[in-house]
Symmetry: D2
Subunit: 450 residues, 4 copies
Amino acid sequence: MSAIIEETTKSRASGSKIRTVCEVNLDKPASEQPRLHNRWHPDIPFAGTIKDGETVKIECVDWTGGQIGNNDSADDVKNVDLSEIHYLSGPFEIEGAQPGDVLLVEIVDVQPFQDHPWGFTGIFAKENGGGFLDELYPSAAKAIWDFEGIYCTSRHVPHVKFAGLIHPGILGCAPSAEVLETWNKREGELIACSKLADRHVAMPPEPRSNHAGASDPDLKGKIGREGARTVPGRPEHGGNCDIKNLSRGSKVYLPVHVPGAKFSVGDLHFSQGDGEISFCGAIEMAGVITINFKVIKNGLEDLGLKSPIYIPGPVEPQFAPGRYIYFEGFSVDQHGKQHYLDVNVAYRQTILRVIEYLRRFGYSDYQIYILLSSAPIQGHIASIVDIPNACTTIGLPVDIFDFDIMPTGPAKKLDIAPCAFETGAKEGVVNTTSGENSEHSFGGGLTYKS
Amino acid sequence: MSAIIEETTKSRASGSKIRTVCEVNLDKPASEQPRLHNRWHPDIPFAGTIKDGETVKIECVDWTGGQIGNNDSADDVKNVDLSEIHYLSGPFEIEGAQPGDVLLVEIVDVQPFQDHPWGFTGIFAKENGGGFLDELYPSAAKAIWDFEGIYCTSRHVPHVKFAGLIHPGILGCAPSAEVLETWNKREGELIACSKLADRHVAMPPEPRSNHAGASDPDLKGKIGREGARTVPGRPEHGGNCDIKNLSRGSKVYLPVHVPGAKFSVGDLHFSQGDGEISFCGAIEMAGVITINFKVIKNGLEDLGLKSPIYIPGPVEPQFAPGRYIYFEGFSVDQHGKQHYLDVNVAYRQTILRVIEYLRRFGYSDYQIYILLSSAPIQGHIASIVDIPNACTTIGLPVDIFDFDIMPTGPAKKLDIAPCAFETGAKEGVVNTTSGENSEHSFGGGLTYKS
Amino acid sequence: MSAIIEETTKSRASGSKIRTVCEVNLDKPASEQPRLHNRWHPDIPFAGTIKDGETVKIECVDWTGGQIGNNDSADDVKNVDLSEIHYLSGPFEIEGAQPGDVLLVEIVDVQPFQDHPWGFTGIFAKENGGGFLDELYPSAAKAIWDFEGIYCTSRHVPHVKFAGLIHPGILGCAPSAEVLETWNKREGELIACSKLADRHVAMPPEPRSNHAGASDPDLKGKIGREGARTVPGRPEHGGNCDIKNLSRGSKVYLPVHVPGAKFSVGDLHFSQGDGEISFCGAIEMAGVITINFKVIKNGLEDLGLKSPIYIPGPVEPQFAPGRYIYFEGFSVDQHGKQHYLDVNVAYRQTILRVIEYLRRFGYSDYQIYILLSSAPIQGHIASIVDIPNACTTIGLPVDIFDFDIMPTGPAKKLDIAPCAFETGAKEGVVNTTSGENSEHSFGGGLTYKS
Amino acid sequence: MSAIIEETTKSRASGSKIRTVCEVNLDKPASEQPRLHNRWHPDIPFAGTIKDGETVKIECVDWTGGQIGNNDSADDVKNVDLSEIHYLSGPFEIEGAQPGDVLLVEIVDVQPFQDHPWGFTGIFAKENGGGFLDELYPSAAKAIWDFEGIYCTSRHVPHVKFAGLIHPGILGCAPSAEVLETWNKREGELIACSKLADRHVAMPPEPRSNHAGASDPDLKGKIGREGARTVPGRPEHGGNCDIKNLSRGSKVYLPVHVPGAKFSVGDLHFSQGDGEISFCGAIEMAGVITINFKVIKNGLEDLGLKSPIYIPGPVEPQFAPGRYIYFEGFSVDQHGKQHYLDVNVAYRQTILRVIEYLRRFGYSDYQIYILLSSAPIQGHIASIVDIPNACTTIGLPVDIFDFDIMPTGPAKKLDIAPCAFETGAKEGVVNTTSGENSEHSFGGGLTYKS
């Protein structure tokens, strides 16, 4: 740093316990807990107050509010109610924060609950949620992960163990009325113009299952009609950015749009791969996040920010460069069609290359799809100007496997227990180069049951 | 590794000099040097023979064949003849390689020529080449970089110094006739269907400036008519993948399509950022690459490969996680239009966020555009399923600057000398949120003068 | 790994809480808690049983058993009773472990207690404990550290903040009777032969303050007479090795000497520098360690082990190479005397070089001594054969400071609050090159009040 | 950095070749080349002049001046003439440097000669040179290493390949007359007081084989009588510090004692392990170092320096923490004798633990001794205050082996070709815990034939 920084304002006595500003109850419906909410709106009442400079603990439910169970069936994933998501903790008043300021959020810790040491990764069914590869893998599937300290393992994806790059999928400050209006307008225009008949391209405000925190019924109604859904991250405030590296020790610089900031956080992930490709792709969990808050007055202008920035923390799990296998993908889809510099197509192809590589060891395609969603894979945009092919790469860390996956010859197939499936689904290897009759190889993304 | 590997076949006596299989002459036109070529075609004659297990040195010209000079004008960039690119060294026969095999290429060193210690980064003019931001930055511009050992600096982008993540932009084996036909067909269909009136979406075979190595005139004519252009990387062989981490010590596993492999390499980069966004975005240079070659018999099937994979080398320049600033971008373009999960839009927005941040310190937008193309920035796909917004991030290493760019407050503007421009161009700050009247915010990429 | 490893034996149901095998009570004297002990002896009764393959939580008091308070006086450090140390948790029976086996201890987490988020670093007075620099810094001093998630700060060492490389200072299996006899014999010979009049060179068995766990009075008496002190690490079992990198995720391979292994652990450190130079030099704390245990039958012979080995975990705080300043020291002491390849002298000199460097910024020598004991400094043996000078280096991470310590010119002195001192002690800068009338520049180490 | 730094003074035109200030001839005796010297003395004439801010190339012979051949006998090592060592390039005048300044030496590259791509590691015979383990391994032995780009391999230590952490073993500025006198006095006193009958503890000035650069005979005589030997590093100027991390990109801050600095450099190492334990332990080579020089006026006082400091470069070969096996050693020697906090004893024991571990795979002890001297092993001082045991650790990177050395069970013995030996020497496994009748387990270090 370039200058002597003022030392942290200490808001509590040395040695005293960190204050928990929000407790949740995992045995009670999320929809009944007043410090949770599931829409973005400037009028949701404050769920608590935090001092400028203070460090607090904030408890969070998992993003679905407990809809997914620790069992061996993916029927709960298949039937998940997406109108409920995401349950966030907040919004919190940060004393002194005003529009134009930047809220500096230092994530000093994220932990699962001690008595709830597990999480889940889901593949949503194509007709309810979908995901980046739903054209190829339309069934619902699931993996349960067990946590032991820094590590996780899953009976549904055997022979894998890794340290969590633990982080919140969502954090941000509430939009102002003007920002909210902008969101609803531009996303509404996309919905209006979309020609994708079988697929939702965005989610408009949805009164059903709206949880507006401690709002009274009138306000709740308004928020249900106007409140922005939490699914997309948005440039003005961040929100559901799902950045895997926003982990312990990270500093996030968030634009403030309303007095008091109205900061919310949730969607805790024990780990995630770049892209979070199966949509419910991270290792989703309930837990506690510990954050220090500081207000940077006039920060938006002083720092030239329009969207959040962040500085990663120092304790990311380390793999050496030489302990990754990198796969390359290009914007030629699985049907042989050439796309013009389309990174989405290239990234999907890169994922398919990893699936082809790993299935040689005995994993099902669905298991690999889950693994690439949840493990700390590195997804890079390699080249984006070499017409007509964009090129992306995925780095797969070899040390998360308890057997050798290095490219030294034919693979020895292991006898691997399956992941959880929806009732009646058949797993198996999908031919990833032909046969799928789809016009949507360029798209992907979420669909949901209305 | 999981098994005792056979030790490297030694193809030369201990202590003896490494053989140079291809020399180039920087004082002679590239088009006249028989060990160079600039099209992909199975019939280009071998430029030399390399033993299975051998390590050789291969000299390369810069990708343009010397069209760009070490001076302070970008007129050479503006007028570059893109029909000539890329001049590659090869194709080399690797003894014993057959279709279905994998060629294991270990890049044990890449160096600029000792007596030619400089390179260049160009921004192509919108009407000749273009680039990822050509709608906003249509003028030609240039930076010359000086090399000193592992480091580079530029009088055109002052206050920056970094170690090169030195690599070849292009390496691959020749396509078979069938593979070549596939390429020409699918890219031809894209060209036929394109509705982008002002922009080339792909480059068909081009007889003009075709350099077919040591071909006789008849063969040269055929190659000119059929040979695939070298601009795009392609899934079947890699080619111009422009992966910044393919550096010293990397092992690349390349599909073999023709007997003898016909391996070619070129487009050496002293450094590049993820995306190589300005198209001539890397630090382009002439130099020498040292490679060990090994043939993996039946490798394609045994390893389950359809596209190249690679394992990075161990000597990548290291920055700690906490010495990056990460910028976030979403698929809402600079005109406020919402795009559906479009990573290209998101990545362009991410770049604009960095430009806005760095211009506070006194750099021009063009300088930052050059810097982000050439410095080792990390471009990640963060989330790709949160409809309608894709999110990408760019990690900017702060330690490449000789002043502090950390987000600690208002920036102190430096007095910074400009980059090189085409005659008559005006530099300056572009308003990156409005005013540019473009319908192509979703596209980008290369255009060229016919 | 070279082979398909058997997956972890699961000793509990998926999703269930991790069992705590040992609870401690910070409000009760450590000497009265039956699952603690403070001597090494094969006969201390088991404090609990752990299955082969099981993961458990083990609570630990701080090494002194609570003698040091969160306050601004170092009188408690000055008067610490070292006959009580170290209070360890255990010994635990690991089912199936037998002499000749290796106990594989995977440290999956270490945490301070949530309601006790602080620790301490002490400089022992020269006449009671001493330390590596006690000839120069004979007074007792102290720093209290506050923990917030992964980070710590101290009002006694301002302008410093870093992530803990959290670890146990002590872990090991009980000695057999034969091993214990060897220890007492060889350390007794050292004591018998020592010519250092003013300094204890080793600590013989000491009945006073002996805590033998759940022993009955007779057994307790025996253990007091025979039990080895916990201060030194020892080659046969590890013990108090004080290795700063034995952190989260590390795997330690411990020799087993008695049936059931009798594993003990304690002396938890939030962080430590290489050497732990002030003796109470780590950031000492009470807390919880979570460990997975596996028995490797016949491991001693199969692995060729005589002493423990370990493999570090993946989440060590990361600093880039270029964010360290390395200091060099040689075996010429502060009086100008040449020593023969003496690494101890060289390391002391290296420390003094750091003290001289950092005191320019306003820190007192005692504060720097505390900082180098507790922050993750890298202490390397550089060269050990270049007669007569050994050379050692210390790497000081610059990013733990909130101001710039890079060697760019004269230092700007800060106004820095002092550390805690014993009553009557004067802090100040010590002339580290002359004047200290000492004959013990070659030695150092612990002294204590009898 | 804390402030806007002045950009590098450019001392040559952009794109021009870097000047070579010193050329050597490997076919001519080192003793006849006037830009080399092998003593430290303020009066050795300048070998060239370098501008403040300039970057130059400096060629160096290997430290022995070519005494060791690329062959399979270690007789040349056995009979090496140590009175000749080390041949350094210089001394160079740095314009403007004065006593009290600091010379900032940025090592921007180190390379072996292209036509001399090999180096050697030697174990000196106990009676001529010796080494850290000469009591146990008294014979001369040798390994020849072949270089290919960043990597090295050896027919004498098969199944190993690693990237060089390439660096100069020696660099420093000439002593003033006063500093030289101090050296001779304090080392002379050590020699006078030594009671080690069979072992040289330091090397006094030695007229034989003195090479005083371009001195006339009178001056050469004086330098032979007074000049300090180059073997030890010394605190006042650095010199032969043998720090393995002083590699490409490192910045070294060197005290200046005479006008013009009289900077010398040599003893280039392709790689070295911490301690350089076999004395000729690095991979010794001839080659070229490229350095940028800057003078920091009044730097000694402003930076508070008494000895050199350095900041490592960014391109160190990377291994993840989890890809090291760490061995622990304590200050109990191989005869079971307890030493008092003796780091030298602990480090020797740590080395013996690695030897015992690796010999299970079929290596001879001598091969492992060579490997630990030359490969980038990490040697740490773990704890230095836990009386009576010092503890050190050695981290052995597993990825330098082409087979799996992880501690997963009994080792499969390979059939490994031997290293080079002196005529008549027998290799074999030495019993490292008993039998060696030595009183010098506390010492070690260099001996030489008079």
